[in-house]
Every structure is written in C-alpha cells, then in structure tokens.
Symmetry: C2
Subunit: 393 residues, 2 copies
C-alpha cells in the first residue's frame, strides 16, 4: 500500500546520529549524550508520599480534569514564579506535558507554513524539530557568550518579520550560556518595538551553581505597568523534580494562553491529572528549594570533575565554564574534525556524546560536541573521558 504522509511529517527528519546513539543503549558505553538528570537525587520518597496524598483525596481525583491544568498546582506555580519576579495569575498559566509540549503548542498557535522563527544558533535540538515540523523558516541570529547580537536581531526582524523569537537565556542547551542583563533588556525592548513574540525557554534556570548570582528571566523584566508582555515563559519540573512526571508549564498574556489552551484541548484534553495533583502536594509539603540546592551542589561538583578530567586527559578543546544547567559545550582545537564522524569512532571505543552540528540551523561548527555532566557518576566519568582521549588521539 502506498502511504501518503503529510508534508509536516516528511520534513521532520530523523537525525542520522539518533541511530548511532541508539547503539549506546544497554551496551558498555558511557554516554555523555543524553540530557538526563542524575537518578540518585530524585526525591522518590517525597514523590511517593505526594501520590499517597492524591489517593487520600478519594476517587474524584481520578476523574477528568480541566484543560488548563490542576488549579491548585497552577496556584503553587504562580507562587513559585513570584520568587523569580514573574507575576502571573491562574489565567496566565497553562500546564503542559513537559516544556516540550509548550514549545509545540506555542508553535501551533502562531506558525503557518513559511512563517519565520528567529533562534540562537546553536539551540535546543527538539525545538528545531518542532519548528521544522510546522514548516517554519528557521533563521539563526548571530550569538556570542552574552546572548544574541542585538544589531543582527534588529536587522533580521526587519527583514524577515518573524512570528516569534525562541531563546534559552539561562544555561542554554547546548552551550550553557547565560545572557547578559543588557542583552535581556535589549531583546525585550526590541520585541516590544516590533510587536514580536519572544519565547523564553527556561528548563535549566534553577540549576544555578552560584546562588547569589542574578539570573533574572526576560519575562520578569517587563514592567506590569506596561501594556503587553511579549514574552511567553516556559519551564518544567523535569530537571528539578523528575522527568517521568512530564509536567511543564507556559506563562504569558491571557489572550495568548487562551489560544494555547484551545490547542492543548484538541491535542490531548489535559495532561495526567494524577501527576499534577501529586506535584501540587509535593510543592506544598516538600522543601523543593532545599532539594534544588542539593542537586545544584552535586551538579556543580560533577561539572568541576568533568572539566578537571578534560584538562587531566588533555582533551584538545576549549569551552566556557558553565555556571549552571547540564551541559558542557566543547569546541575541538582541530577545526577540521567532523564530530558526527568522530561519534562513530567514539561509540566503538565505548563513549558517546552529541555532535554539535545537530543543534544548528544551517551548517554550524562541525568541530563542536555537547557533553552532559549531570548524569554520569565520577568513576564512570573518568573512564568516559579517558576513552574520549583515545578517540581524539
């Protein structure tokens, strides 16, 4: 039978590296490829208690819920967001199945085939894939260690009239970068001037190693006296609680959230209500902030270990020391190396990473690789970096 698939799904390319990375599963391969949090620190007891609290509420907690998401959870999120300077009432919050679904629904709400989206280049791979699937014209804006180049952004907004701009200003995936205050203020003003929506994806914002440092979200820089906040802010519990719960959220002006809710309703009616209720109880009774301090300390230790090992094994690469998040972004000294080719060799030697090119729209820097430092414990990490040394020598 001849199958006529949609343009959308045909445009959604399976990554060639996906097949290679599949080989890492179940084998004696040390993988720095996944974006996984460390299992050792999942608050499993507290999560279990939270679920028991849900069941103690009675059978009603097992019924259908509302598309917007569990009201009590949205209240708790609203309170937590205040600590980040984000003011949002319940009508401004939509619960999603991880922040991945937030990206998908936002794109559905704004993008017609051929519309332009501006991005940092490189950026989050699975966002690029969503944009591809909706037939968007994805254009990279020049970026450096402080964020997007605002002159280039200005020009590209004028030239392309993008439907929205997608950024990860705090501990970006894959680069680990943090935008400077000036750039954050700058992009907000530009978005207001050109009436352009800004998607601020913030899954890693709370994984910060220096608790005293200020990593204000772009969303929070908007003054509530102003007319309209062009920022849609999205985050998730996957990195600070546990990924299996698949619970994220998106915050924005009510007129936009209403459209996202409409899209959510046809997509899946609502996300798991049991998980949402459990997260409500977790936020209520568990000291999540203390827990975040614990994982941040541990992740910082692992990051330090990894950078030390990279030096110790004289991996011929440079990187910017990340101040949070989950990734180390390496640029290999030999600019002729194609890291996608290198991966094949690496997997044979028993170590895996993600080649940098997959994070770019267009060509990209072929001699870049992304290493995850949160998942692998020290002993394994050492073996992994040693193997990487063999691959590169």
């Amino acid at each position: 039978m001849k199958l006529l698939f949609s343009e959308s799904i045909q445009q959604l390319k399976t990554l060639p590296t996906r097949e290679i990375l599949k080989l890492t599963q179940g084998n004696d391969i040390i993988s720095f490829a996944g974006g996984l949090p460390a299992e050792d620190f999942f608050p499993d007891k507290a999560i279990q208690e939270a679920f028991i609290n849900v069941f103690e509420q009675g059978k009603q907690s097992l019924q259908y819920g509302i598309t917007e998401g569990h009201t009590l959870l949205r209240e708790e999120i609203s309170k937590r967001m205040l600590l980040k300077g984000i003011q949002a009432n319940l009508d401004q919050i939509q619960i999603t199945t991880g922040s991945q679904q937030a990206i998908d629904l936002i794109t559905k709400v704004f993008i017609n085939r051929g519309d332009t989206i501006l991005i940092e280049n490189p950026t989050y791979l699975a966002a690029l894939q969503v944009f591809q699937g909706y037939g968007a014209n994805v254009v990279g804006v020049n970026s450096d260690d402080d964020g997007m180049d605002l002159d280039d952004l200005n020009e590209k907004i004028k030239h392309y009239q993008p439907k929205f701009i997608y950024v990860t200003p705090t501990f970006a995936n894959p680069t680990g970068r943090v935008w400077s205050s000036e750039r954050k203020q700058g992009i907000l003003q530009i978005c207001k001037q050109f009436e352009t929506i800004l998607i601020e994806d913030d899954p890693y914002g709370e994984i910060q190693f220096d608790k005293a440092a200020d990593y204000s979200s772009i969303y929070s820089l908007h003054s509530t006296n102003d007319d309209f906040n062009p920022v849609l802010y999205t985050s998730t519990f996957s990195k600070i609680v546990a990924p299996a719960l698949r619970t994220g959220w998106v915050i924005g002006e009510q007129s936009i959230i209403q459209q996202i809710t409409k899209a959510k309703q046809t997509a899946d009616i609502h996300s798991s209500m049991i998980d949402q209720q459990a997260l409500y109880f977790l936020l209520k009774y568990f000291d999540l902030d203390q827990h975040i301090i614990t994982i941040c300390n541990e992740y910082k230790k692992r990051k330090d270990q990894m950078t030390q090992l990279l030096k110790q094994y004289e991996i011929p690469a440079k990187w910017v020391e990340p101040q949070g998040g989950m990734f180390l972004w390496l640029t290999l000294q030999d600019s002729k190396i194609n890291s996608a080719e290198l991966l094949k060799k690496a997997v044979q030697k028993g170590v895996a990473f993600v080649p940098g090119t997959v994070f770019y729209t267009g060509e990209g820097e072929k001699n870049t690789i992304r290493l995850n430092f949160t998942y692998t414990p020290l002993e394994q990490m050492q073996i992994g970096i040693e193997r990487l040394q063999h691959v590169l020598s």
Copy 2:
C-alpha cells in the same frame, strides 16, 4: 499588541455551547452533558497499589523513558488486544496521552491543509475539532443504524480521494451505534481496494452490556496473511480504569507507527512514565476484566434507568437503545426544535445536555440531543429528567 495567530488556531472554533456548559460547573445543575465515567467505580485501591509498585522499583522509574511508551505496558496491551483478536507486536503500538492524542498525531502524520477526511455524521466532536485544526476538508458519509452506507462511501472515496476515514464502529459517540458485521467487512475491503487508511476509534468497545455478543473490531477482521492492514486502531484506559491517568494507545502497521512516534517525540517526548508503569502493574496484578464486568453491569442499570425515566416522564423523543458505551442519542419529536436554543432554557431549569448539532459536519439534525447515562446516580437522574420534561413542555 497585534497578535497574528496561525490559520490552524483561528479555524479551531470555540463551541458556542461550551460557554453555556461552563455555567453548569459548581451550580445546582444536573449535567448529562459530560462524557464522564462514574467515579464510584474507579478502582482507587488497586491504582494506589500499582503506584506503590512503581516506587518500589527505585529511582530509575522516575527517569525519562522512550517515546514509544513503557515497554512492559505495551506488552500487556499487546496481550489484552489478542483477546479482541488484534495481533500486534510491540513495534506496532504507540502509547499516547489518551486516545485524543492518538487522533491528533495520526492527523498530523497524514493531513496537509485541504486534504479530505471522511467521517460518520454525526461523530466525536473533539475529533472534528482536531481535523478542523489541521485544515482538513471534512466530509460526512451517509450513515444509518448499521454504520456507513457503503455505496455512498464508495462514491465519496472516488470523488474526494480522502487521506483517511474516521469511524467509531462500536458504541459510537454520540449515537451509541454499533456497525453490522457486513458493514465492517465492507469498509475494510473498500479501504484495501482504494488504499485508504481507516482510523478505528474504540474508546467504548469494552463497555458492552451483553458479554456474549460479538463486537469484533474492524482491525481484527484483517487477515494476517494479507499484505497490509489499512486500519489504525486506537483505544484508552480512560473509560475502563480512570481518565486522570490519560493513557491511550494506537496500533497499526509498523511503517505508520514509526511516523506517529516521530510526531509524538516532537509533541511531548513521551507521556507520563509513572502513570504508564502504574498501568503496567495494574494490568499485571488487578483483575481488570472482572472490574469491567462490574462497571458494565452498573452502566447497563443506569442506561435502563434513564430510558425508563424518559418513558415515565413522557419525553417526546425517540432513540435506539444502546447496547454499550456511555450515551443515549435522542431525536426530539418536534422537528422544529433547535436543541442549542433548548439548552439555554434547560440550564436555567437546572439540567444540561449536549445539543446534537455540534457533532455534525455541515448542518445536522437540530432536534437531536446527547445524554450521558454513566455519570449521574439514580436519584439525581430522576430530578434531571423531570427538569428536562419541564423544559420540553
């Protein structure tokens, strides 16, 4: 700020009745409108035990999972499907966030704007909304109490060359209809002949009042000796376990399921892994089949009560007695009544239903209404039908 939403989201109309039905929430209104299972029969203790089983597995159960869905759950689904004559290996099963997401992902995989989808008319409202959102040309095929008129189907396939046909052959929403064996065999042959995909949506298939009756799925009528099964079968645990878990699945040829998995990955990476693992344990340790017998007996009782009340209060309408599912489809004797207008009056009198027109593509029968009989206990049901009598008199 001027907001430029996508065509998709603009085409997705909010139903005018949605606002009216919102009024029913929290008020002294007896609602036969929702498609809700009865809470009293949710197996809450067994579900709680299943979740405890998940946590006993350790912290790894809280990590990210694979997009296809929890392997052990797919194995259990594969076994359960065998009892329905459906043979599917693990690569042919994709777990979704309720069967609603299955409908959405299938549509994403096949439909370009302007492509035609053939449907029974009336049919499941939220499927119509998905199709609308993807810009499909939705065309109704003439249907009667035995299913689609196969001559009309033949003609419309030739004329429109649809991408797929969407049917709910067992206890349909809203009509409660069951297709005859001849029609089921017929549509399968036609789909093979014209190489057209058939979506068989089966959320209610197990809510059958006569356990001895044969309600074979269309999917199962395909001989495994044949080349290619054009049927995609989707169902859910929402009606037989509990909706809050939001877990459904879709079964089909591997070449199609692979594309659905690709779409699922960008949509939300995967559905709640905690819920999927809990459902695995539930299927393993809980006697779900006995539980289904219990709810079927109860739902049959409620259906009998409702039809008896409709007669007792001399509601001027006719209906076909449903043999399963959750809905009673009434055609009011007075063909001039517009049930959407009637709903406004009804809500004022303290009773709600869904006006039939929302389930049609095109005009539809204005004097039809859908009543849910599973959710409302007897005493309340009597008050509700009495109120309906007042509205109609």
